[in-house]
């Protein structure tokens, strides 16, 4: 419990600031979150969903906690939650896991929420890009919150990138709630390119209505210590979800992806693909569960997790799970841990390609399967380029960002 103390104390210290800088819809949730946070404490590795990441340890250091609301000018369809064009009370903090202490902490301490709101049958001309730039001379913790609402028939591509500018320690605690209305199409891309001293906790919750289609792609290209969860509720018949992710990690990097797809009604489809390339002493973890509620007949679900470990000191934990309470279903999952194919390596070397280059080509090809699932062509091209750079060890700072130059 002691780990929670510094945060509850902090909350009490800055309570007034929080309440004045924020607004009712968020403030209404704070004390409930505080109570639960206090009684739950940080999850330990005995908590099934936190088996591979020690949250208590990650939240232990003393960070300065950022309490600045959004001040910049926001593009079309983006709002500060306090200026929301619709009533967001039914949405805010409604699907985020209230029993997860890390989420509760975010609810307690977030000052602002970025709302992406796409009205009925609207399709923005351009993808919406949200760049999170971590900057500061002191060790800083950021509680970030995003609310995405797509009304019936709306469509959106949202690209979220994480960057860090200075070499300080950063701890990001992000919560995203996304609601995909009937017949809506939502694509979320999250790209992390930070540095070794960054810790990232991201909890994403998605709820889909009838015939909605959501794609969530998570790319951990460079990081320190990362823990992502993605929880999807398929709550309307005919809805479908694609969860894809890739991880490239080396040195002492740690990436833990935890996903949960809930088939709550019949005739829904889910498809999941996560791939990891681990080098040096990197630790990768993937735990994915597909839950099929009683009565959710005609469910179709496929999950695949494939991993490459390049060294003996790299660790991979994988745990693909199925929990099924309906009978008319087709569910499958597969998981592999292995190395680059010796045959393919030899073949390439016989054609005169050096071993390192051959390895690189194969690793790149391995990750390509995930990148290729991205429908947005310019993003796909850019990611191919970045993956290649990353594998060559040339990507240590975020590419193409004005601030870093």
């Amino acid at each position: 419990m002691s780990g929670t103390r510094q945060y509850t104390d902090f909350f009490n210290d800055v309570r007034d600031t929080l309440y004045t800088r924020s607004c009712d819809v968020m403030n209404a949730q704070r004390t409930g979150a505080l109570d639960r946070f206090r009684s739950l404490g940080f999850p330990t590795r005995r908590t099934e969903r936190y088996k591979y990441t020690d949250a208590g340890l990650d939240f232990e250091p003393d960070y300065g906690i950022a309490l600045t609301p959004l001040t910049q000018e926001l593009p079309k369809y983006c709002y500060r939650i306090c200026n929301a064009p619709v009533d967001v009370t039914p949405y805010y903090n409604s699907i985020a896991d209230k029993q997860d202490a890390v989420v509760c902490l975010n609810t307690m301490l977030s000052v602002d929420t970025l709302l992406v709101y796409i009205p009925r049958n609207t399709r923005p001309e351009h993808p919406i890009q949200i760049s999170n730039i971590l900057k500061g001379d002191n060790d800083t913790m950021v509680n970030r919150r995003l609310l995405i609402i797509l009304e019936e028939g709306a469509e959106a591509d949202i690209i979220i990138t994480d960057h860090a500018v200075n070499d300080s320690r950063f701890l990001t605690n992000q919560v995203i709630e996304a609601f995909a209305g009937e017949n809506s199409h939502l694509n979320i891309y999250e790209i992390e390119e930070t540095h070794l001293l960054c810790t990232r906790y991201s909890n994403v919750y998605i709820r889909e209505s009838r015939n909605a289609s959501v794609r969530h792609t998570s790319l951990s290209l460079f990081n320190g210590h990362t823990r992502n969860t993605c929880t999807v509720q398929l709550a309307g018949e005919g809805s479908e979800v694609n969860l894809n992710g890739c991880v490239i990690a080396d040195k002492m990097q740690h990436v833990d992806n935890n996903t949960r797809i809930e088939h709550l009604v019949p005739h829904c489809t889910s498809d999941e693909l996560y791939k990891y390339v681990l080098d040096d002493s990197a630790v990768g973890a993937f735990a994915g569960i597909v839950y099929v509620r009683e009565g959710a007949q005609k469910t179709s679900s496929a999950m695949k997790n494939a991993n490459l470990c390049a060294t003996d000191s790299a660790r991979m934990y994988t745990q693909p799970m199925l929990e099924i309470y309906a009978d008319d279903v087709k569910c499958s999952h597969g998981s592999t841990v292995g190395q680059l194919g010796e045959d393919a390596l030899f073949y390439m070397m016989q054609r005169g390609i050096g071993i390192n280059e051959a390895r690189l080509l194969l690793k790149s090809a391995f990750i390509t399967e995930v990148i290729e699932t991205i429908p947005l062509e310019p993003l796909r091209d850019r990611l191919h380029f970045q993956v290649d750079k990353r594998l060559r060890g040339e990507l240590s700072k975020c590419e193409g960002c004005k601030l870093c130059k």
Partner: protein
């Protein structure tokens, strides 16, 4: 489908009868005194009593864990009798005559004792309630230096061997039920295969819970020395009882260099009635230690019975080039719950493991596969392949898959795949069009589905297992 369901009369538990044998049962309850009493009744040496007492003290400090995907009833450990001896206090000390009633029980179960076993080439150690009734065929085995006897006898006749290996694979601190078993185990089988000896026949134990309100805590210890080979069969039944009967067994297997052990189980303990009343709680710790290089161990299990099954026959692959296999069919119907699977711990170099699991759920049952494949940094070149499929019959049951893979070696290859689907209506219809009724069609398709596992069983067991699959699922399609 609805009509079919109505027409089908559920088949009752075929082995539900009790045998009228005088049984020496000690009073219910568990304490140090009870542990001492059990040890005394069995005339055990001091070291064994000490082993039991340590286990008991450890157990008494622990709480029953909440494990797996199970809804476990509260077990009142003080309401169980920890010792029941179905052999009559005999007329003569030297030869314990087998009670004719008991023989009838075995006949009903269809366990062929004595000559029938000789023909089938199987040696049987029958454990009814807690005491080994008779070990057949012992002399012939003795000539080859093979020891096959009840563990109580082994304690008397081969104390050094038992002392060396007992608890060496499953220490009493392993888990709550392992501690309980270590404290109160009443009997079980002991097998020792000497160096270079291939056991020429299948060794077999038949367990049966008979007395009311007794738990069965048998303990099996198999040691297969260098270059040895043995195939061991275990069958289990229990009569119908309303209250849950506890069965907390331990099986320990030690496999040395170049040796091979095959362990097969067909478990059809009483599963409870159609409303989920009664049934055996089957909480078993089974583990094999592949100590020597090139050693091999395979677990094959067909689990159709018990109200609750909790077991993970595991393999610790320490010896280089050792190979382990786990083949499992678990069938649950009505209100049964099964949480079963395996652990493969790769430590030695070039170790290989294979896991094939087939879950079949029907009625309102819950059937989970839970498994762990762990590759230690030392396990260069380790390989694992796992395939875990689930078949669903009916919309009220559940099928779950919880595999864990922890890989800490870059040269390891670990593969896991799983599918869950409904029994195919197309296949059912095809069979029916050929005149095969729904019951038989289900049995046929399920047996086909489970074939990879059934094929691993010795012949006589395979036939029994096939029948059991059909019987266990009767009335499940609807």
């Amino acid at each position: 489908m609805e009509d079919i369901a109505r027409d089908i009369v559920n088949k009752d538990y075929e082995y539900g009868f009790t045998t009228d044998v005088e049984t020496d049962v000690i009073d219910k309850g568990l304490s140090e005194d009870v542990v001492r009493l059990i040890s005394k009744k069995k005339g055990e040496p001091e070291w064994l009593l000490e082993f039991r007492l340590q286990a008991y003290r450890y157990w008494a400090e622990q709480k029953q864990p909440e494990w797996g995907h199970l809804n476990m009833p509260v077990i009142d450990y003080q309401d169980i009798s920890y010792y029941a001896d179905p052999t009559k206090k005999s007329k003569s000390e030297d030869s314990k005559e087998i009670d004719p009633e008991l023989m009838k029980t075995f006949d009903k179960l269809g366990i062929p004792l004595e000559e029938r076993m000789a023909l089938a080439g199987t040696a049987v150690d029958a454990v009814m309630d807690s005491v080994s009734v008779k070990t057949t065929f012992r002399d012939k085995l003795k000539e080859m230096g093979i020891i096959f006897m009840s563990i109580s006898e082994a304690v008397r006749e081969h104390p050094d061997l038992v002392r060396e290996y007992l608890g060496s694979v499953v220490p009493y601190r392993d888990n709550y039920f392992a501690a309980l078993n270590s404290a109160v185990f009443s009997d079980g089988s002991f097998v020792y295969i000497p160096k270079g000896v291939r056991c020429p026949m299948e060794l077999s134990t038949y367990f049966r819970i008979n007395a009311r309100g007794t738990g069965q805590f048998e303990r099996t210890l198999i040691v297969c020395d260098d270059d040895g080979y043995v195939s061991y069969l275990e069958g289990c039944t229990a009569p119908m009882r309303d209250e849950n009967q506890l069965h907390a067994a331990i099986v320990e297997i030690v496999v040395k260099e170049n040796a091979e052990v095959k362990y097969s189980t067909v478990q059809n303990w009483y599963p409870g009635d159609k409303n989920g009343k009664g049934g055996v709680l089957n909480l078993v710790t089974k583990r094999g230690h592949l100590r020597g290089a090139n050693s091999r161990l395979s677990w094959t299990q067909v689990e159709t019975g018990s109200a609750i099954t909790w077991k993970y026959p595991s393999c610790v692959l320490s010896g280089d080039n050792s190979q382990a296999e786990f083949y499992s069919v678990a069938v649950t119907n009505n209100f049964q719950q099964a949480d079963t699977g395996t652990k493969m711990i790769h430590i030695g170099r070039n170790t290989k493991s294979t896991i094939i699991s087939k879950g079949i759920s029907a009625g309102r049952s819950q059937n989970s596969y839970r498994g762990l494949v762990k590759v230690a940094p030392t396990a260069q070149g380790a390989r694992n392949y796992s395939s875990c499929d689930s078949l669903l019959l009916g919309s009220k049951c559940g099928a779950h898959t919880f595999p864990y893979m922890d890989v800490k070696n870059s040269s390891a290859i670990v593969e896991h795949e799983a599918t869950t689907s409904k029994i195919s209506e197309e296949q059912l219809f095809y069979c029916q069009q050929r005149g095969i009724n729904t019951e038989d069609a289900v049995s046929l398709i399920v047996n086909g589905y489970a074939k990879d596992v059934i094929n691993k069983l010795p012949m006589e067991f395979a036939v029994e297992a096939q029948k059991l699959l059909g019987v266990s699922l009767e009335g499940s399609i609807g």
